[in-house]
Amino acid sequence: MPRPGFVLEVDRSTPSILFWRGENFSLEKLPAGRSRVIYPPEPLEALSDIDGAIRHALANPIDQDPLATQLFPGMKLTIAFDDVSLPLPKMRRPDVRQRVIEAVLDTAAQAGVDDVHIIAALGLHRRMHEYELRHALGDRIYDAFHDRGMLYQHDGEDHDNLSVIGTTDEGEVLEINKRAADSDLIVYVNINSVSMDGGWKSITTGLASYRSLSHHHNPETLENTKSLMGHRHQSALHTSVWRLGKVLRDNGPKIFQIETTLNTDMFPSPFEFINKREWEWTAKDRATFVGTTKSLNHTPIKLARKIFHGIEGPHQMTSVQAGETEAVHKITLEHVHRQQLMEVQGQTDILTMGIPFVSPYNPDGVMNPVLVMCMGLGYLFNMYRNKPLVREGGVVIMTHPCYRDFNPVHHPSYIDFFEQVLTDTTNPAEMSRKWEKQYAEDEWYRHLYRTGNAYHGVHPFYAWYWGAHGLQHAGKVIIVGGDPPTVRRLGFTPATTMDDAFEIASDVVGRSPTITHLHVPALLIADVQ
């Protein structure tokens, strides 16, 4: 029986606590008497018969007819799936998407459907490499569909192949992939790693254009998204997405939504110590930790990245449900909460968090400084319900080397964003006004996005906006162990050690602040009372 989440009040007997530092770790001593550590709930048991559960979900959908009865010869069927921005780290083969899509294809074959297209719903994310598609879908699907041109990746800049579905009462235009729009049925295959995913967000972002995304991926909306992972009514982003979803439901093609949830068993042997509570580390865990950190200190960064990005998580499916989008998503969220939600009493003055080597926007790539900000303030800061873990005006302390290093293939516009935009302003609204259009319409970035493996030119702005609410809420952001000039460029304060960071923070929160450490991984949503 997995244990629920746990809040540890730090006292003098508490051991040092594990912090991620990019492609390495550190142990930090937190002040006794006023610190607490939030440990996520332990991974839930996976489904014992995953393929059976998938078949059951397809045959017994929620508020819809069974998939088999919705398929007929001569129809246009489009299967869309989430890209490799999740799960993190990538899961061991077979990936959930492969299992689900194979089951859907089996049903389609039984129904005599010939016209099937499989589309990676990557929105403005980078196109996946062949090895990534093979990992997500398996060799069988890739070999059968890719060379025939029936498996491809969505192109949000291919205006000939985009179709306007309609407009919301607020004037938001929904423009999605034409093939999907013209289909008799879209089957969407989702992995719901965190609670902000899924629902109407799947299609209205994954298969949408820049024109459509800009209605909610903007500073104003994200500053008003007060609980990205929590209640929908507190999230301006989800309110907008749900409005677009209504347009899609009323005017768009029929949708059969398949949502899956995973447990948080993220790291395999020998990295199990990452998921454990420090006082439960065995001699083997301690030896692994010491060996790993000492070796990583002398390992070239490229090799260290290769090692970490090569990790395949043992996480497995905890639920699968299919049918009508909203009804399905409601159940999906219950499963996500069953794994990730835990109650935490009260806010804190200082929130500490270790930033890992990966975020949703750098699978198999470099965690550049902009993504460090996005991961800290956009994702980890937002892992709450009701109210943030840190009080308004409090301090956020992250640990990461924050090297000035970019992947020019994946993040070309991030390089210019860092050098050009961040030297001018770190204010989301101001950068949106002054710079966003130029980057979004840049022909070279557009070309790299459409033909290479680059994120869209506007993507660094979106990554920055993702942290807009955190930026607005926190009084100060400190990065421990980061390259000082790079950290300053982000508008944050560098610190050499955790003690230095507490000292610097005292200017904002006084000499005796309360401290809360978010112990990641695994994932958790703090229900702050």
Binding site: A46, D49, I50, D51, R92, R93, P94, Q98, E102, L105, D106, A109, Q110, A111, G112, D114, V116, G138, D139, R140, I141, D143, A144, F145, D147, R148, G149, Y152, D155, D158, D160, Q316, R450, T451
Partner: protein
């Protein structure tokens, strides 16, 4: 020289004495036994009456070959060295296998105690067994027993011992259904051993497959273990039945999803399902997953047993089939480039 001559003479003298003592002992023993010999039956072996044929001792060869020793820890250790050393090198050099579909076994591997299974591949060549032994993933590889034809692999002691040691082969009578063999195989499964059973019963005589016999389905029905259909492509061209020497080539091994007998499903029906699954994998190996699934849904996967007609047309079709296969040139599909305007 002066020193060695007396030594040699000394040795010859000793030898003569030993011979003399030996002769004397022999004479004494013969003399001692003379009264017993004179006593005759029952103190001696009886004479066989003329015209009576004495039944031969039960043979210890064929299906009666004792292979229990091949599953001892020492034999397992020796086999592990053979499998991971010379056998793997041989298979790589001769058959250069490409293995797909192992992800279909992932769910079984997730269990703390991985359950035993029955691997049911098609059979074209003696190369099939070393190939399958080296490509089956752990933990099944180290607990794999191969059901081998008793009349072929266990007809002499040396051949039987070699087959038992290197392949962990277990003798199966192909001609008659042996209760003893099936009971023994059930016992092996209960002890946690996994099996390789070639449902065709032997190598293909002409390059096409043969109809499946029900052994694997029967055992699965009795024991409840899953049957993993496997399709092996290419070994027929490497060392097919009747070939005098090995011809290097490439092979493809496709593992299918484990099949378990449905409630109330007869052995015959389950056997047909296994055969259809291997045929679908064969189609998948030669075309692609989607084509194979579409044909499987229509029940039109090409049969393993090949076309109905005989004679040269059958061989002609086989050549075409091999062209499609991994052993020949895989079908190349038209590549479509995105239209970027």
């Amino acid at each position: 020289m002066k020193r060695s001559a007396p030594t040699r003479l000394h040795s010859l003298g000793q030898l003569r004495r030993v011979v003399k003592v030996g002769d004397a002992t022999g004479t004494a023993v013969r003399a001692a036994l003379r009264p017993i010999r004179a006593l005759g039956f029952p103190y001696r072996k009886p004479m066989v009456p003329k015209g009576v044929v004495v039944a031969a001792d039960p043979s210890k060869l064929g299906a009666n070959f004792e292979t229990g020793w091949a599953r001892s820890s020492a034999a397992k250790a020796a086999r592990s060295v053979i499998t991971n050393g010379p056998m793997r090198i041989f298979v790589k050099a001769v058959a250069s296998p490409r293995v797909v579909g192992l992800d279909r076994l992932a769910d079984l591997q997730r269990h703390d105690e991985t359950p035993p299974v029955i691997f049911a591949p098609n059979h074209h060549s003696h190369v099939d067994t070393p190939l399958i032994i080296t490509v089956v993933p752990e933990p099944w590889r180290s607990t794999l027993v191969v059901a081998a034809a008793a009349d072929y692999f266990f007809d002499t002691r040396v051949k039987g011992a070699l087959a038992a040691l290197t392949l962990n082969a277990f003798p199966i009578d192909r001609e008659v259904t042996s209760r003893k063999s099936s009971d023994e195989l059930r016992r092996l499964i209960d002890d946690g051993w996994s099996l390789v059973i070639y449902p065709e019963g032997g190598r293909s005589p002409d390059g096409w497959g043969q109809e499946f016999k029900g052994g694997a389905a029967y055992l699965a029905n009795r024991t409840g273990v899953a049957v993993v259909p496997v399709f092996i492509d290419g070994t027929g061209s490497i060392y097919g039945k009747g070939m005098k020497r090995l011809k290097r080539g490439t092979t493809k091994v496709v593992f299918g999803s484990p099949l378990v007998p449905l409630e109330g499903e007869s052995t015959r029906r389950f056997n047909a399902r296994i055969e259809a699954a291997v045929a679908a994998l064969g189609d998948e190996a030669l075309t692609d997953f989607w084509t194979a699934r579409q044909r499987a849904a229509r029940g039109s996967n090409p049969k393993l047993t090949g076309p109905e007609y005989n004679g040269w047309r059958r061989q002609w079709a086989l050549a075409e089939q091999r062209k499609l296969g991994r052993a020949g040139v895989r079908r190349r599909q038209q590549r479509q480039w995105p239209d970027l305007g």
